[in-house]
Symmetry: C2
Subunit: 222 residues, 2 copies
């Protein structure tokens, strides 16, 4: 493990065992991968078995925030040992041989023990981070949480101390013999995640334009 | 739990505890969610702690296949207790109040104990399923695995017996008071995953058109 280029984390489990060339050493890239994502996959252990659920999240500095209903079983404790993974798929890598097929991607994996946030100010800032993560500007546009809503919401914080970033970019890596044989196409099919035109709710009065923070000023074009 | 509409699975852990209205009862929808995905998030337990990794997969009937290098630590055993989750994000739901913000999505969660596949015929069909899952037609186009490649590849099978599908669709669900107050925009920003024009590898001879199974016949337009 001493040759690993991963400097994001001091522990073995977030030090990549394979394909170390795909490890990013820059904490800024960890933040970038997390910030670009919309959904994370939250893993935890229940009755000895793994569970993986998609959920929203937000980031403030080196803290990742999760939230959910106080009725959710996995948020019932004061701490939650977990693993949070965010993945961006950037392309399907078509090689000349099927075993060299791959994906271009960026992923962040965070290990740790999330703690239940009880301080009212931190809870408020965490909920703000989660909403602003989805769409910057949304927190100032919509009605903020009231006392009843806050009471029904559990908030957890996970330090980004123990994390790794992995990525693959570029064209296929083919065996030389397959290149020389020249019998198959080789290249990348890019994958992109795009936001479409905003669709107003059926009960929204007609005088509302799409607000500027949604990147469009006239929903009637949507 | 007796009122749960989930009929996909007989066990408590794949019977949804909350938002049961989002549970799909149709096994065809489970297959559809899995087939449309490109990356799954594989959760397992290592040293008592959860780990979640993005990886490719394929499906044949009611079996989900995973593969990886025989050098990958988590594939070293004959079985792998795991949870496999596939999520499609379809939209960001902007409500009139931030606590009613949500996401439109479809997700499949599969629990079970994956078994290492040792039968050569099943291994071959599993690898075919994984490659064809990425891009139908790719298995017949590219060079198939040779003896050396097969020896370096571990294949695992996970039965789709214990699975659940969850989804949210449609506009925001706002509090009546927020609708009457009419002080914020409400609606959905759709999210789509799109494939771009194929990008030929730099070392691909110029006489290759993009093969038909990639949905484009001339890479020079790419």
């Amino acid at each position: 493990m001493t040759l690993s280029p991963t400097t994001l984390s001091p522990t073995a489990r977030s030090t990549l065992g394979r394909n170390r060339g795909r490890a990013a050493t820059d904490r800024a890239e960890l933040h970038a991968v997390l910030d670009e994502g919309l959904v994370c996959h939250l893993g935890f252990v229940r009755d000895g078995a793994p569970v993986v659920l998609p959920t929203a999240y937000g980031r403030a500095g080196d803290t990742l925030y999760l939230h959910g209903s106080t009725g959710a079983r996995y948020l019932a404790g004061d701490t939650l040992p977990c693993c949070v993974t965010v993945t961006h798929l950037d392309g399907i890598v078509h090689a000349r041989s099927v075993m060299h097929f791959s994906m271009n991607y960026r992923s962040a994996v965070v290990h740790g023990v999330a703690r239940k946030v009880t301080d009212p100010d931190e809870r408020w800032q965490a909920l703000r981070a989660i909403v602003e993560h989805l769409t910057p500007g949304a927190w100032d546009h919509a009605r903020r949480p009231d006392r009843r809503e806050l009471a029904a919401t559990a908030v957890f914080a996970l330090d980004l101390t123990e994390a790794s970033v992995k990525r693959r970019t570029g064209p296929p890596v083919d065996d030389e013999a397959d290149v020389l044989a020249d019998r198959a196409w080789s290249g990348v099919v890019p994958i992109r995640t795009v936001r479409g035109a905003p669709e107003p709710a059926p009960d929204l009065p007609g005088h509302h334009d799409v607000p500027a923070h949604l990147g469009c000023t006239d929903h009637r074009n949507g």
